[in-house]
Amino acid sequence: MNAMPFVDELLLEQQSLTAVDRFSQPHADATRPVQERYYRDLIPFHRPQEGQQYSFEVDLEACSGCKACVSACHHLNGLDAGESWRDIGLLVSDHDGMVKQQVVTTACHHCEEPACAHGCPTLAYEKDAITGIVRHLDDQCMGCRYCELKCPYQVPKYNAALGIVRKCDMCQSRLANGEAPACVQACPNEAIRIRLVAREETSSEVLLPGTVPSDYTQPTTRFLNLATAARPSEPQEPHPAHGHIPLVAMLVLVPMSIGMTAAHVLADQVNLSILIVATLCGFLGLAGSVLHLGRPSQAWRAVLGWRRSWLSREIIAFNLWAGSQALYTAAAVSQWLPSAVRPLGGLAVFLGCLGLATSVMVYADTRRPFWQASHTAWRFYGTALCAALTCSPFPWLAIVPMVFLIAFEAHLLISPDDPRLAASRQLLRGALRPTTVFRLMTAVAFVGLVLAEMPRIALLVLVMSELAARSLFFRAVHEPKMPGVAL
């Protein structure tokens, strides 16, 4: 009978929050962080002196694998859902009958030679002159994600909602105030400390079993008490990497555009429509690469990093190429100033080739063996050369570069001499097998079509074949990483 009002009373009570009124406010008068007593000895007393910097030190023997550091980083830094700058991995050792697990907690290593910063086209990374902390300038980032390729430790993390990369800043504002970083504060076992290390101090050969040689970035993190014969426990099976479809398109369409333009410049009798197709192709490729940025409106910042960043140089080179290509196309179509047409064409092709060289370096600079300069140059210039010769007066010449490419790729598949390419080979023959087969079959078909004097169809087949090849270029690369967990 009176249940209705009683229910309402309960629902009302359920929605009222009274804890503040009913209980005392702890630490109401505290002026310093009360947690200080637990972490005082885990951070340096002094700011870094000349020639020093802050670094993480992780005691693998002290870490019990509770993973509190991961969630503490998330909560104490107010990160978005699922975001944390700390990751967890697992090492297992089986030595002299002693089986042991060691959990690895890892964040940014605040490297002395931060590859992320060196590669960033927009100068969105700042290595602090005093603390050595490698900080990411979120508002400077255009979301190109090149730092993800450059960092061999998977530190920069892309936030799709914001369109930028974010990363660990060693809680620099906390350190500046004498507070420990979130992860250091939160470790029940005092396994994570901040140490001052001498810059230039030679770092160990590798950070942990399975990681890249440390001379690449000179990471400052130290892992103590690594067990004998420890190895990563996660799947040894390599996984296909990110496909980067806009970049696949760009790295096919732009070289082809350059090649076709070269054919047009060198052989005056070639149809104007080839040039127009070439220009449209190239511009389409470039547009795709801009639109794939997290924040395309910030793309203008990409010129800032030209002193160190191959990506910045690539962007500058292709912008110049695009300008000269547009001028050449306009001049050739309008026949305004006929004497300038050829030099303009030459300039466009020259800048295009220069751009391709920077593209090669963009990938070579990640130090991934599959992307080494000599291999990548073959691939990118090979595309341009095949396109150029197919559109030339002697299309059959195109079989020369293509046969070389087929031989090169078959060699990778069959008789590798570099053990560092084993993972890529495994992917090409395993998970990526359909694409590999498609690539090789279309490449052979291209040769056939050229010999059959069907250059236009051959050109279409070439586009498909090279798209497959470029997709393999991205997907079959072995990504260096920290030891992880099987997920």
Partner: protein, 732 residues
Amino acid sequence: MKLASLECRAFDGPLTERLLRDPGAFGLGQVPRHLSPEATTKSVCGYCATGCALNLHLRDGEAVNLSPETDYPVNLGMACPKGWEALAALDADDRATTPLYRPSRGEALEPISWTRAAEIFCERMRRCLDEHGNESAAFLSTGQICTEEMALLGCFAKFGMGMVHGDGNTRQCMATAVTAYKESFGFDAPPYTYADFEQSDVIVLVGSNLCITHPILWQRILRNQRSPEVIAIDPRATETASHASTHLALRPKSDLTLFYGIAHLLIREGWVDPDFVDQHTSGYEAFAEHVSAFPPDQVAAVTGLSEGQLLGLARSIGTKERVSLWWTMGVNQSHEATRTAQAIINLALLTGNIGRPGTGANSITGQCNAMGSRLFSNTTNLLGGHAFENAAHRAKVAGLLGIHEERLPRCKSHAYDQIIDGIEEGSVRALWTIATNSLHSWGNRKRLRGLLEKLEFLVVQDMYVSTDTARCADLVLPAAGWGEKDGTFINSERRIGVTKKVRRAPGQALADFQILRLLAKTWGCGSWIDRWDSPESAFQILKAVTRDQPCEITGIDGYRHLDDAGGIQWPYPDKGGPSMDQERRLFADGQFHTEDHKARFIYDRVTASPEIVNDAYPFILLTGRGSSAQWHTQTRTSKSEILRQLHPREAYVEMHPEDAASLGLDPFERVRVSTRHGQVEVMVIQTPTVGRGQVFMPMHYPETNQITHPSVDPHSRQPSYKATAVAIARNG
């Protein structure tokens, strides 16, 4: 040039601002600017029985963030990732937000009002009890709700509705420890305080992967300044075994033999404390006679340990000044679990390792309020650690509650497995589950699913509508979760702590306490229920009930006292005691709760495991915690994106690489795991941390309990999940 490039770089801006930290008040240090609190309050975590206090960061009275509480004597400023993620479980899309009713089987659940839900509950339960008797309806509760809630549930169901049977999922974790302590000490009294971890010379961990099941207790071990020897007894090279000083990888379920063998060695080597045994124990002679049949050579053959290892363990336990022995589910979930726990207790009694700093035979509890359930759930025990069978107890409790004594049952409830069997036999026709997902956590799931469908009326009271059990329900009562209600929890070391309402429950979800009040009012229980008008009033009633019991807490004023004191361990009588310190252990005076005040040596013959390993089922399946980021059936932990990144997403079985090689398995291949009870398909992970002939599956995935062994320990009726014979084969 430099200046120009600087000008083009955005060191500030809206994106940078998102991650700015400001000094937080209340001693917090820097906090994210957008989550900067206006007040803070501490609240005990609702996951495990460690009982950490979390410091909730409040805005407008509502929690927006949290960090571990600095001063709480349990966790000393730390928390495991589940604690850090405690609020994440509240924001899920699959929260139950309104009562749901299925008018008939085969139809969908439909939203209904609370009034209607309460009427349906009362009508159908009453009809069942009236037509089929008091044993025809039962409840299955949990160690995850507040003490006041489980007490009200037990009182309403038994004294109000007239039910006889109710049990909790605590049967699956702590029943063994309860039974062992009651028989050995005369009361369910875990004797320790967490400071004992810091004060031991030898810490023996039996069937306990403390590093990931109770990370904060491992933290306490690391604070020990006495350079303790930490001995892990576990078939697997767990995280804990990896960090221990000594790992004794015994054969699965050879533990009872091991501890009798150690007792044998202690007696043989003269490492017994004769004064303690003489003054404070009974049954020593017969026990010594019993263990004389466990000479080291035989024990070595059974356990797979060397005689040197056995002697080493006996020497550590027998000769060091302060020895503490700790056990968890590896012991509790076994076919002879109670006797194994008592074999551990016997070692402490033999060597006088009880009642002094750094000693004890100590059961580490699982759920946040399993200890509250042990004293106040009114299931196996009458409220407050009393006995249903004891007339004086019934009179006392009835008097204090204002209930006619005749309303109190004279026998204890059936255990979980007996209630399930009752459904099969047709004696149990209506079931009410509260905050537990039986269909995932109870063994032999297929049978249970069929039985739930057989019920005439299934009521599920839960935070989520998505649990396996809720999907089978006829009536779903939407419950508020941890953080959305007030109450107390009792942790492993008997510490009563306050948990607080700091979030608004979604939709019409109500705290379990309020749901019970509504049901009780609708039922028409009489005026005695009116005194249970708030969790804190209920706490005052429970306080009064504990008078003159070993767990007396009459000295506690109320919630604010508990909150300010950093939790209070029972006993805490108003007349005071030998010590009222913040960290206290029991039995310093050697006086136990038995009639002669002596602890009893209890032992039994060793029995073979009901699971036979043979050619058809050549491996032993062990189960346990997978990672510190997972809790039980993952109903709550799976809601946190952070926690989900910290463990494998799908079920897996761990196997020794050489065993995998002998079966020709590829790494991470999907395999079929079959037992005599069922079969599942999971991924295989090869790791030397499991021994040859053994495999391991974490309990968190629904696959695991489809194939575990359904038998129970005869004394505690706790299921034996830890050793099932299995076959592994390539899938397909």
